[in-house]
């Protein structure tokens, strides 16, 4: 199979990731932070090493402010639900995933309103101006994606964060499609909260995610329960990371995530992005030569895009094209709305969705050529 659905989750994973998961299950399968025996302490060390890896990778000097979550969505929900109160207002972008849109929509029932700031592809000044215009006196949070999970368009996140800092408004970045691909440093950054999946650009297993807190404003925890610490206290501990990590953690997954981050650090996020962008650019150029293909964005560039590309064939349903690629050519892509109806509305593709191709560190030139050839053949059949 040619796997080009890396926007949903990267596959395959580095061997070291698979090895770490297996090794942990076979050799260190104790509950971390609960018991006094050697194996439990060793398990805690695995968690701590991953916290250190993540903190170093993202330029955060406090490993305890690295919170393990189930995925990026849980991290985003923690910030959104944990910070906002009745009467607050929140600003999101026009390219948001449902991981942001649905929580803010749900909060309308609790007297919290939101405004959508339009992203203008290729015009960061206009995008920032739109965010500025969306701010209100009661704006208590700005949360936006770093890059569209459908169209690959990157937002000027640091500049939006700096704008928020001027107005003393917390800023949360959804790095679902950028973590491990776009270099992000929280050192001297105005990004207060960074939410990332462990299983996409960081190459960890599914069921892993990260919330990095770079602020003194600490959100409420979504859940309460056993942390292995201060057990006689009926209240949830306030100390990080225990405040957010009730219940048994995903130790094998986190061991794998640690190796995934190591893999990205060894290769360099910038190198990975440059290589993947070259492949996606190659695809873009090839698709642009097929008359039946509809493209929605400018040609991908390093400063304005991540290696995510959406297209359609004229008069063909996106799901149908993806099914043909799968059944006839064994190529895995994702079609439809990609859990991002807002982004599709922005580009006028909400009716039919799009076919999305996303490269990873394991995608190669011949796979992209094979994908291009398959799309060409499907489009010719459509023509007949």
């Amino acid at each position: 199979m040619i796997y080009l659905d890396n926007g949903a989750t990267t596959f395959p994973k580095p061997r070291a990731v698979v090895g770490a998961v297996c090794n942990t299950l076979m050799r260190f399968g104790a509950n971390p932070g609960r018991s006094g025996h050697r194996l439990s302490i060793r398990a805690s060390e695995i968690l701590f090493r991953c916290r250190e890896q993540a903190a170093e990778f993202f330029g955060l000097d406090k490993p305890e402010n690295v919170i393990f979550t189930q995925n990026c969505t849980t991290a985003l929900n923690t910030v959104i639900h944990g910070l906002l109160k009745k009467g607050d207002h929140v600003v999101i972008s026009s390219l948001e995933h449902n991981a942001v849109l649905r929580p803010v929509e749900a909060l309308k029932d609790e007297g919290i309103s939101y405004t959508v700031a339009e992203v203008v592809e290729g015009d960061d000044e206009k995008t920032i101006s739109n965010f500025r215009s969306a701010l209100r006196e009661n704006t208590a949070l700005v949360v936006c994606t770093h890059a569209s999970n459908v169209f690959g368009v990157k937002l000027p996140a640091e500049r939006i964060a700096a704008l928020c800092r001027i107005y003393n408004i917390p800023f949360c970045l959804d790095a679902a499609q950028s973590a491990g691909i776009v270099p992000i440093s929280l050192q001297n950054s105005c990004i207060d909260y960074l939410c990332a999946p462990g299983h996409k650009g960081l190459y960890g297993p599914m069921g892993t995610g990260l919330l990095l807190i770079n602020s003194d404003r600490i959100p409420e925890s979504l859940i309460q329960g056993g942390t292995g610490s201060l057990s006689s206290d009926r209240r949830q501990p306030s100390i990080l990371p225990d405040r957010y990590e009730s219940g048994t953690p995903n130790l094998p997954g986190i061991a794998g995530l640690s190796e995934g981050i190591r893999f990205v650090r060894q290769n360099g996020a910038e190198n990975l992005r440059a290589r993947e962008l070259r492949l996606i650019s190659l695809l873009y150029e090839g698709l642009a030569d097929i008359s039946e293909v509809v493209l929605y964005t400018e040609p991908p560039k390093a400063d304005s895009h991540v290696p995510v590309l959406s297209f359609n064939l004229k008069n063909r349903d996106s799901e149908e094209v993806a099914a043909l690629l799968s059944e006839n050519y064994d190529i895995a892509v994702r079609a439809g709305l990609h859990c991002a109806p807002l982004a599709h509305e922005h580009y006028g593709t909400e009716e039919n969705g799009t076919v999305r191709v996303v490269a990873s560190a394991f995608t190669n030139h011949s796979q992209i050529q094979a994908c291009l050839s398959a799309i060409n053949k499907i489009s010719k059949k459509a023509r007949k």
Partner: protein
């Protein structure tokens, strides 16, 4: 007996404290906190052989909060 146990509020703090000491060449060991002291901490402590005040200074300078000190059998 002089104090040789450093108590913490979280296991992450224990390991961060141990790492801070290790970087300064000081050996410490993670142990289960004695039952009588466990209620005011995370249940794990660092047992140190060095001067505890020196160890505390290093740990605090690394930004790690501690939950007190206590005496226990030497490692």
């Amino acid at each position: 007996m002089n104090p040789n146990l450093i108590l913490f509020y979280s296991m992450t703090a224990v390991l961060k404290g141990r790492e801070a000491l290790r970087r300064r060449g000081i050996f410490s060991r993670v142990i289960r906190t004695p039952a009588a002291l466990r209620r005011r901490s995370c249940g794990y402590s660092l047992q140190v052989r060095t001067d505890i005040n020196e160890a505390l200074d290093i740990i605090h300078n690394a930004g790690v909060q501690t939950a007190g000190t206590a005496a226990a059998d030497s490692p």
